[in-house]
């Protein structure tokens, strides 16, 4: 690089965000004194069209060959200014950004003089870096015309159908024997009271029929490698001990199976056999043998059962399948808060305290009672039912694992439960113990009024304690009515705890496979909370549904469709541009010591013979640019592009000029 460096420094006011704390004019004058700076200027909003045009114009006017923008975080506007620099005719990697907003004026607004000093230091450090930057050319790679969707609840189902309808081959992986997820357990949906199964099962059947969807149930993602456009995915298809192509779903194996154990789908409220489908509308309607409970009596293989079909094989092994996809959607859903940890409510101690999702099964037509609501203790019809809202939500009690956030669905499903009770049991009185009723969605507030009119009793206050009459099994609920300002105790037949929505345990594995992050609430972190809630910081990986945070079904469906649209863009475009931030080896300096080989987490470094000499080399496609190899190379032969030793050292030297 013999060409003289001519750097332009552009200081953004960001309205008053920056200019309200520090003197931007002074910063511009300071920048002009720095080595290699050929021009410096400020503007109210650098990211605006005139701001960007200014960069382009000044590059030409002052014959600049490097740019520094002092503004917000590079995590926000680096792409914007890279583009402006490129359009001005300078390689976009000759641009760098000085973060004087998020990491200066916003965090030191009470000490403006020191913020000013820091801004000068930060600009000086970036100018030093800019003087050492080298032009790089991004690589374009083709995108595999297939997508992977992990999780087949309503989010995964919706996303898969959208992708498949857009002509994309979609692999849908579900760990349970059937698709449908949590929604398939619900009886009705609020506030329209649509039957949940009736609106879900057509979509489930569509998934099975769609030629573009390859459905893999009872399967788990075991490994993911690669990058946007070229992910290699390993999927373990757990053995059902039943050949799916031979099983016709007749259910004779289930009839003869002598084993009885609680059905997980019904939260253990009714039994299933060791040979089972979780629920009658399961998709695919293929039986599974639960080997943990099977006693290998062979009855299911007998003539009066599977017999000639020969679909059952106790020795059938798991299968490992590898697929190649361009983009991935994570739709791993949620778990329910373990409300047993709230000892004061006596869940699992008192028979007549149940959770919201158990109540769904109790009131559901396909549930253990065929939709007849009974008290678990004695099978009698309850006449008074309490609903404890925010059971584990909006609760600061970390010791109990309770969550500070609002779970967004419990108010509405409790209102729905109250309505269903009133509809089914004449004279029943539902009591809803609430903090605030959050009925924010379309037609939700109207539904709330409707339940008030129908006779729901609303008590504003948290339930402090539930005790039980050991003889009648009736429950005594102690609470405070905060509107009356008076304590209250009442005897109820039954209590439903509207327990919180919590991050799914199973998401953790996917999170580490894809190196995703989570937000403080434990749900997966989106690329931007407002403008990009369906993307992640890992390119080519998107989020759909509750794995990103609590939301109701309409929001899940919209989120899933958005994720599908976003995931289809690189596939339809056919190629993606990769950042040229990868390591390169200088074979002349490499001593072939192989230190870098063991360090690379992606196996991108390998030893090769060049001119009769054993040297390391980096596979550009595999390298993700962490730079770990470069920092360990004893001979300094590995250069981490865009983060070279020279560039970082120049920043450190510039830092030292601050005193």
């Amino acid at each position: 690089m013999d060409e003289e460096k001519r750097i332009g420094v552009f200081v953004c006011h960001c309205g008053t965000n920056i200019a309200g704390v520090i003197n931007v004019k002074e910063l511009v004058e300071y920048a002009k004194t720095l080595p290699h700076v050929a021009h410096a200027e400020d503007y109210t909003y650098m990211c605006s069209t005139p701001g960007q045009s200014m960069i382009k114009d000044r590059i030409k006017e002052f014959n600049l060959n490097g740019t520094v923008v002092a503004a917000c975080s590079p995590r926000l506007h680096e792409p914007t200014f890279r583009k402006a620099t490129e359009e001005g005719g300078v390689n976009s990697f000759l641009f760098t950004m000085s973060n004087i907003r998020e990491q200066d004026t916003w965090v030191h607004m009470e000490e403006p003089e020191k913020a000013m000093e820091k801004a000068k230091d930060l600009v000086r450090m970036e100018v030093a870096r800019a003087s050492k930057l080298e032009p790089l050319t991004p690589k374009t790679v083709p995108v595999e015309k297939a997508a992977l969707v992990i999780g087949a609840g309503i989010a995964g189902i919706q996303a898969s159908l959208e992708l498949a309808d857009a002509g994309i081959k979609t692999y849908l992986v579900e760990k349970e024997p059937s698709i449908g997820g949590m929604m398939s357990r619900l009886d009705k949906t609020f506030p329209t009271l649509d039957c949940s199964q009736c609106i879900l099962t057509p979509k489930m059947v569509d998934v099975e029929r769609n030629p573009n969807i390859e459905l893999m149930t009872y399967s788990e993602v075991e490994g993911i490698s690669g990058y946007i456009g070229n992910f290699d995915v390993t999927i373990r298809k757990k053995s059902r001990y039943v050949y799916e192509d031979k099983c016709n779903g007749c259910g004779k194996c289930q009839e003869v199976c002598p084993v009885s154990r609680p059905n997980e789908f019904d939260l253990g409220l009714q039994p299933r056999k060791a040979a089972y489908v979780p629920f009658p509308q399961a998709v695919p309607l293929k039986f599974t043998i639960d080997m943990d409970s099977c006693i290998k009596c062979d009855l299911c293989k007998g003539e009066e059962a599977c017999g000639e079909l020969e679909a059952i094989d106790f020795d059938k092994p798991d299968e490992l399948i590898t697929v190649k996809v361009g983009t991935i959607i994570v739709a791993t859903g949620f778990d329910m808060y373990d409300v047993e940890r709230k000892e004061e409510w006596g869940y699992k101690v008192f028979d007549n305290v149940v959770t919201g999702i158990e109540f769904e099964r109790l009131i559901g037509a396909s549930g253990p009672t065929g939709g007849k609501v009974i008290r678990p203790s004695d099978g009698k019809t309850p006449k008074t039912v309490g609903f404890v809202l925010c059971a584990g939500s909006r609760d600061q009690d970390e010791e109990d694992g309770a969550k500070p956030y609002c779970s967004r669905v419990c108010c509405m499903y409790s209102l729905k439960h109250a309505h269903q009770l009133i509809e089914k049991i004449p004279g029943v009185v539902p009591y809803l113990f609430y903090m605030d009723i959050r009925s924010f969605g379309k037609a939700y507030e109207e539904f709330y009024y409707r339940i008030q009119r129908e006779g729901g009793k609303f008590i504003r206050g948290r339930v402090a304690r539930i005790t039980e009459d050991p003889v009648t099994k009736n429950l005594f609920v102690t609470a405070e009515d905060t509107l009356l300002g008076a304590p209250l105790e009442m005897e109820l037949d039954m209590v439903v705890l509207a327990n919180a929505v919590v991050p799914a345990e199973s998401t953790q594995k996917i999170k580490s496979l894809l190196t995703l992050s989570n937000s403080p609430d434990g749900f997966l972190l989106e690329a931007h909370p407002k403008l990009n809630p369906m993307s992640t910081t890992t390119d080519g990986v998107f989020l759909a549904g509750m794995c990103q945070g609590p939301r109701d079904i309409p929001d899940v469906v919209a989120h899933a469709a958005a994720a599908a649209a976003a995931a289809s863009i690189p596939i339809h475009r056919g190629s993606v541009t990769l950042e040229p931030i990868y390591a390169i080896v200088d074979p002349e300096h490499c001593g072939g010591c192989a230190t870098c080989i063991g360090l690379c987490p992606y196996g991108a470094t390998e030893l090769k013979t060049v001119d009769d000499k054993l040297v390391a080399s980096v596979n550009e496609a595999k390298c993700k640019g962490c730079g770990t190899c470069g920092s360990a190379c004893p001979s300094g032969a590995i250069k981490m592009q865009h983060f070279t030793n020279e560039q970082i050292m120049s920043e450190i030297e510039a830092f030292a000029q601050g005193w």
């Binding site: 998020e102 965090v107 913020a115 987490p601 730079g627 970082i648 450190i652």
Partner: protein, 152 residues
């Protein structure tokens, strides 16, 4: 000294976790001491021990390395490697006469803006107690001689 000692601390942060966490502290307008100047690297695995030695040799009062929590590295295991390096470096700088507390590695995720503010506050408190970089105390002339020629 009439003025209170204000440490000059170099922060070397990974792009995915702590740099994002520091941005979040900004978006949330959390106020913390203005003593840290940040260099962004993609992963703490990029931390060349020479960066730390260089920073101390040119007079930094402290060096703060921060990345993703163990197990959460965007590049799988870069933070493990850098944690090992920092552990050794802390011993090494002691040999050079620096208190090991002048070098610290922390783990701050993208969602822990408040933690970043705490980490900075704590580091600044520590360095204020230790006083300026001994090279600075020894005087500029010696500092000049102590800085190795740039071989990088």
């Amino acid at each position: 000294m009439a003025e209170e000692f204000e440490p000059n601390i170099l922060g070397i942060l990974c792009n995915w976790c702590t740099y994002a966490g520091a941005d979040l502290a900004g978006t949330s307008r959390m106020q913390y001491p203005p003593n840290v100047r940040v260099i962004r690297i993609m992963c703490t695995g990029r931390l060349d021990p020479a960066f730390v030695l260089k920073a101390l040799s040119v007079g930094a009062d402290g060096v703060l390395i921060s990345g993703c929590h163990i197990g959460d590295c965007h590049y799988l295991a870069g933070n493990f490697k850098s944690r090992r390096r920092v552990a050794l470096l802390r011993k090494l700088i002691e040999e050079y006469g620096y208190d090991r507390e002048r070098l610290r590695m922390t783990f701050v995720s993208a969602s822990e803006g408040a933690l970043w503010a705490e980490v900075v506050q704590d580091m600044v408190n520590t360095i204020k107690k230790l006083g300026p970089n001994p090279l600075k105390q020894a005087g500029a002339a010696q500092l000049e001689g102590a800085v190795a020629d740039d071989e990088f």
